[in-house]
């Protein structure tokens, strides 16, 4: 569904197996998500023109540097620097392209992911050894190398986070600075591992970023994946989660805040291929300013073998001003009736005038009232992250976004709230 003006929502809290169950206005995928091609060979993915199902919301012209159309799908730039500060229990290696551990979690599913696979000179491998319990957060910083807007070197990188059996750890990946980067993040959780991965995209203005997160989740493993997108001109993240053992659990959370001119796209795919796994997806975004565009596509596939599956996905968007656009498309395919539950919900709305009135009637000035509402909108999701240092940082980031944009909010009040137009009692 697509919206710019109205509040829209879908709620299929309990979907049923009816062969295939797909929702979305403006074109449903012509075939099952299962038949979408994946390949390590960049030649299998022509340069997108924007009419393809998986690129139809994307500004392909702005992403062009990452398609490497002129260089046969290979980028040779060294535009980013990766720094890891690991917990004492965690091992970090820089490995060559041929390392046998790489490329085990799924395959690239689109052009930028294939370019990333073709381009990285060496890969970073973070290993949480078997039964290790990390006592600290492992921080990975991916930083654009300073060079100015003209000197962007489109680059590809590869990162593998491997949580061995029964380990327990938190990994935070920060993306900062100015870059044009296509990236692969492989996340492999072996049997019984507990792994939290937070990826934060807070690039400088002018940055273009595509990232393929491929999660391979083993038996009884629990993975929490949190994607935060704040900065950068275009950020397109495609987290794919694949269950390879029974009894596994994935929670995928997302938070994004798009300002004028920013395009933030998140396309998720949860592949329930084995029985008795649980997936929860919750993404929330706020948008403000002319040309702010967010996309959320959530595909869930419950294959015939995946009996006992329990899945629910949710997307909420809060449109804070005119000129912003949120696209939200949940898709659920169910191939077996023997499941615990499957559902999805999507809603895109504007500021609630009654909420603002209530807060203002208690003396709270309008900008502060708006801040409270936005903070509240994200609060629940942030508290689900469960890593206090990350939660605090995100709350601060949201504050900064709001601070940065109060002029936008103030300036468009009359447009956002049609009911205020002509209100004779409103003073300065």
């Amino acid at each position: 569904m697509t919206t710019t003006t109205d509040s829209l929502s879908t709620d299929h809290s309990k979907a049923v197996a009816d062969g295939s169950h797909t929702h979305g206005v403006g074109g449903t995928p012509e075939s099952s998500r299962a038949s979408r091609p994946t390949s390590f060979d960049v030649a299998d993915f022509p340069v997108p023109n924007g009419r393809e199902e998986e690129w139809r919301f994307s500004p392909v012209d702005r992403l062009a540097p990452l398609f490497a159309g002129a260089t046969d799908g290979v980028l040779s730039g060294h535009g980013v620097l990766t720094t890891v500060v690991e917990a004492p229990e965690v091992k970090v290696e820089i490995v060559d392209r041929g390392d046998a551990r790489l490329g085990r979690a799924g395959k690239p599913g689109d052009r930028t992911a294939a370019v990333a696979w073709a381009s990285y000179p060496r890969a970073t491998v973070v290993t949480i050894p078997k039964e290790a319990v990390a006592t600290e957060v492992t921080s990975i910083r991916v930083e654009g190398v300073e060079g100015g807007v003209q000197a962007l070197e489109p680059s590809g990188t590869h990162l593998l986070v491997h949580a061995e059996a029964l380990s327990q750890s938190v990994v935070v990946i920060d993306h900062i600075g100015h870059a044009a980067l296509t990236e692969t993040v492989e996340i492999v959780a072996d049997e019984g591992a507990h792994l939290t991965v937070v990826t934060v995209h807070d690039w400088a203005e002018g940055s273009v970023h595509a990232t393929s997160h491929r999660l391979r989740i083993g038996r009884d493993a629990t993975v929490k994946h949190i994607a935060v997108t704040l900065g950068g001109d275009v950020v397109r993240i495609t987290p794919d989660a694949e269950f390879v053992g029974e009894g596994a659990n994935v929670k995928m959370l997302g938070l994004y805040f798009a300002d004028a001119g920013q395009h933030q796209e998140q396309r998720l795919f949860v592949d329930h291929a084995v029985p008795n796994c649980v997936s929860r997806v919750a993404y929330k975004g706020a948008l403000q300013g002319e040309g702010a565009h967010t996309v959320w596509v959530g595909d869930v596939l419950i294959r015939a073998a995946a009996e006992g599956t329990d899945t629910y996905e949710l997307n909420r968007n809060l449109v804070l001003s005119d000129g912003a656009r949120a696209d939200s498309v949940p898709n659920l395919e169910i191939e077996t009736g023997l499941i615990e539950g499957a559902g999805h919900a999507s809603a895109t709305g504007r500021f609630d005038d009654e909420q603002l009135f209530y807060l203002r009637a208690r003396g709270i000035p309008e900008p502060d009232a708006r801040r409270l509402v936005v903070r509240g909108f994200f609060a629940e999701l942030i508290h689900e992250i469960g890593v206090p240092s990350v939660e605090e940082r995100l709350i601060e980031s949201i504050e900064r976004e709001l601070e940065k944009s109060m002029s936008v909010l103030d300036g468009t009040t009359a447009h956002v709230e049609g009911s205020e137009v002509g209100l004779t009692t409103e003073g300065a």
Binding site: Q355, L359, R362, G376, A379, E380
Partner: protein, 254 residues
């Protein structure tokens, strides 16, 4: 000592069919220390008066004046009115997901006073006010009005009134939907606020029941958008016995 003065107030409300005139010349003066009950049948404009005073964007003042100690209330924004000393206890309080009651109260108090309340006394004040209203301390960590029962919402409104200490409190049908126990708790809260001689109360109600717990000094009967009759507490007793029929008949004849 403050005075809230409403003169010849005309208000229309936005409807799907266009603007609709609701208030047709309301005159009312409320002074500190006074409690005025505003009664009347459904649709007589009682709640419209409440929302107009608070500045709800749906209501348009087409003529008339409202002043607070001579200051033009209608020229103030919604939040400036609250900071000037007006408080509206709403009939239908609004949910604000993700914003805790304690955060909301502190933010409102800071806005009203122009500075953050001293932490230690504030925490104590909140605890005492909640205790007086028989509210569980855990209540402070819940999201504003989210999942509150009807009675909890009304207590939460009174809690705010006690903590924000307005000059004039407008209670919009705070009694409706409450059982007798909740009504008693809420009324006690209003009476605690009334003990302060610097506060004036405008009690809007459909029923006379709450007037057994909160004694009004003046009673005004609203019919068809204006005050049809005024008097002392004895008028409330008369309404209790006779209902609003007398006024409705008169209104129809006119």
């Amino acid at each position: 000592m403050s005075t809230l003065e409403i003169r010849d107030l005309h208000v229309s409300v936005e409807t799907k069919e266009g603007p609709k005139q609701i208030l047709r010349g309301v005159d009312l003066t409320v002074a500190s220390g006074e409690t005025h009950a505003i009664m009347g049948p459904n649709g007589s404009g009682k709640s419209t008066l409440a929302y107009s005073l608070a500045g709800h964007p749906k209501y348009h003042v087409t003529s008339g004046t409202v002043t607070l100690d001579g200051e033009d209330v209608l020229a103030l924004s919604v939040d400036a009115r609250a900071r000037a000393g007006l408080f509206l206890a709403m009939q239908y309080p609004v949910e604000v997901p993700g914003v805790s009651v304690s955060n909301f109260l502190r933010t409102a108090k800071t806005a009203i006073d122009g500075q953050a309340p001293p932490l230690r006394t504030w925490v104590k004040d909140v605890r005492k006010a909640m205790d007086d209203l028989r509210m569980d301390p855990a209540f402070a960590e819940r999201s504003v009005n989210e999942g509150f029962s009807g009675g909890e919402k009304k207590r939460h409104e009174i809690l705010q009134m006690e903590l924000l200490k307005p000059k004039f409190a407008i209670l919009d049908e705070t009694d409706s939907g409450l059982d007798v126990d909740a009504l008693r708790v809420v009324s006690e809260g209003v009476n605690r606020v009334k003990e302060n001689p610097d506060v004036g109360v405008l009690l809007i109600t459909h029923y006379t029941r709450i007037l057994r717990y909160i004694k009004p000094d003046f009673v005004h009967v609203f019919v068809d958008g204006k005050v049809a009759e005024e008097g002392g507490p004895e008028l409330a007793d008369r309404l209790e016995n006779e209902g609003y029929d007398r006024f409705l008949t008169t209104a129809t004849v006119i």
